[in-house]
Subunit: 412 residues, 2 copies
């Protein structure tokens, strides 16, 4: 038994369920006789460096319960990357100092690839210094691009939002008696999992005709041919484009204009708009029909009101099980999901060595993308459908989301 | 008793609940012994002119029930405006011909201001020609700008979407340890009701600091002063801007650039982006902090997954009661809502003469906007909260929306 205190931190871009993992971990830790005090760092590792820790033991249990329906990162996030400690160990020494000051023996860090890298480095450094501390990564990312796990908490909810919103927009776009081209941009700078989720809408008969993923090289000429072929056949065209699509020269779509001196907006700045806006301009030039660009923007990662209950529960279990494993003596791992069966859907929570998942990116399998590189195949549907099942019944207040309201009392 | 057939049409921009009004009307009409056949026109009045009517009697009742959770306009919409029949009665004569051909004695048209104008003209023309036909308008608009009714079906659901999404985006925008400016654009070309709904998020502690409505003249200089004041006080700034805001010269925000020759995008076209993008560019130039523009776009009017049950039920009742009134012998009216009491919330369904509501626009009362013209006051909150209560429990299929699938069999 390693007695002592625990600190939890959140890192990277928020999701609809990262706070559910927090709730799973923190509730289990509060109930554990082995853990003396339960803390959460403000803005992840930055909060540890700044000695800004919140005392979770002073929070109202009901508010902690509400974390399961509160999107975003309640304790604040960061994008701080630690140096290699062989080159510069100053921040590691500061972390060690804070860990010693607060007798931190359990460190949990919730995030994506970069976060697992940070975890791994801290774990190695603590071992080198002979400071006993169990270091555990908890995955989260709407991008679903972490290695060593079947899928990531956050992805199912974002996929449910994307697929449902595509279906609704599709119906909306079909009401008039003239054809329209709708281009929707979905997040995912390096992997196409979330953009691919739009195929679930197509599977239900109300989704995109064309889906472009960062896994394949984007060509404006091929895009034009694809759109023309669908338009000639069906009139309406609905397109999903990942923000991460790049051409053979590695340029993102907004950088593909031939006329780059015009790439400024009304105030002389480089355009804020992304891939969908650029493609819409291109299509407008080539086709004389109505074109609309839509960006799901932050909504796709923070829409807790349509979170997948499967995802919320798995995120909670990931946090809870992360503690259990660490109390069992394990360290230097990330919790991950292993899919034991698909029908009925069943997972096991496993330990993945941090070295396996740090800094690596898992992209969509080649064979799940069609040959033309403009659509997604059935195996992806089989993979994703179990992750979006059910409806979240939230407790509302005044007909609006009821979010957790934490006191966030600093540890002195 | 006026025996005969009934035709229903949908017009204008879709909403999350216009099909719920269709369900209310069509189910009641199918059950009525006075109505022989129940039809729906494809693309509203255009479908009548083209003799494209669907036979609702051949639809599966379960699919008609699903209309209450199916957004957009299931029968297709149009933006066709009829001429003044004193100048050109050719289309009216065609409508009369179709009405006679199918023995249409009940005509229901579901839409906004323009739709009520069309209704009124058809009603007058039929009277002039001595053709007995009861003509009824059913209101719908997310803009909530119809006169003669306390509020419009469609508004409550859009307001719930806007307020909830603001709350979620607010949480998302606060996670990092640096300030951000978020500018969100909301629909409403002439009236600010929907943009004003963002104040419900502020009421719950997670909404915009500044709200700009078309009811007040927009000034870029004042906007800059407002943003600076909030930024200096709080760091983060969240802004809601209505797409309908205009300056003293009647220019919309995207037209307010000093540098209009740059108002082209990467492909040399006039920018697609709207008010939020333009303001974001402006703010980026003036403040050296992170700025993000978000447009809710079509999502705000078609997001049936977060429809307000109050709105869904009122839309249904509007359709159902429209039939009842017409069977009672009334014609040339729009159904409207009269708020009898606010606590508890209670409405009555009333008849509004079509002449009262055709082509008029109801804007937000002056006294519901603050003096500075950049925020919304409590009476608006009292007015809107009852309209967004509750959570819609939809029947899902595969974890995704289950929309009505109609056969749409043409009447020959």
């Amino acid at each position: 038994m390693l007695k002592g205190n625990l600190v939890f931190g959140q890192s990277g871009g928020p999701t609809a369920v990262i706070n559910s993992s927090a709730a799973g971990l923190l509730n289990a830790a509060l109930a554990s006789p082995v853990i003396d005090n339960v803390y959460a760092a403000e803005h992840g590792i930055v909060g540890i460096l700044n000695d800004r820790l919140f005392d979770i033991g002073q929070e109202d249990p009901e508010e902690l319960r509400l974390l399961t329906q509160t999107p975003s990162s309640i304790f604040g996030s960061c994008r701080h990357k630690l140096a290699d400690f062989n080159e510069d160990d100053s921040e590691y020494l500061r972390i060690l100092e804070i860990f010693k000051k607060h007798n931190i023996r359990y460190f949990f860090y919730n995030g994506g690839n970069d976060t697992m890298d940070t975890c791994h480095k801290i774990s190695q450094f603590m071992q080198r210094k002979g400071y006993e501390c169990r270091v555990v990564g908890i995955p989260k990312t709407i991008d679903n691009d972490l290695c060593g796990t079947d899928h990531c908490p956050g992805f199912g909810s974002a996929a449910k939002y994307v697929a449902s919103s595509f279906m609704e927009v599709k119906l909306d776009s079909q009401v008039y008696n003239y054809p329209q081209i709708i281009i929707v941009e979905v997040m995912g700078r390096h992997a196409g999992w979330l953009a691919a989720s739009s195929v679930l809408a197509s599977y239900k008969g109300a989704g995109p005709d064309l889906i472009y993923l960062p896994e394949r090289t984007f060509s404006m000429e091929q895009f034009e041919r694809d759109v023309r072929a669908v338009h000639e056949k069906k009139g309406d065209v609905m397109i999903c484009v990942s923000e991460g699509c790049q051409d053979k020269n590695g340029r993102f779509i907004p950088e593909m204009s031939e006329n780059s001196e015009l790439k400024t907006d009304a105030f002389g700045h480089k355009q804020l708009g992304g891939a969908a806006d650029t493609l819409a301009s291109f299509v407008k030039e080539k086709f004389s029909i109505k074109v609309r660009a839509i960006e799901f923007s932050l909504l796709q990662r923070c829409a807790a009101h349509i979170a997948s209950p499967v995802d919320v529960n798995e995120a909670y279990a990931a946090g809870e099980t992360a503690l259990k494993f660490s109390l069992d003596g394990y360290s230097d791992f990330m919790v991950g999901f292993k899919r034991v069966s698909n029908e009925p859907y069943k997972i096991e929570i496993i330990r993945v060595p941090l070295g396996v998942c740090a800094n690596l990116e898992k992209t969509l399998p080649e064979e799940w993308i069609n040959k033309a590189g403009n659509f997604v195949l059935d195996p992806f549907i089989d993979y994703t459908l179990p992750l979006i099942q059910g409806q979240t019944i939230r407790s509302e207040e005044d007909g609006l989301p009821h979010f957790a309201d934490l006191k966030k009392i600093l540890v002195v």
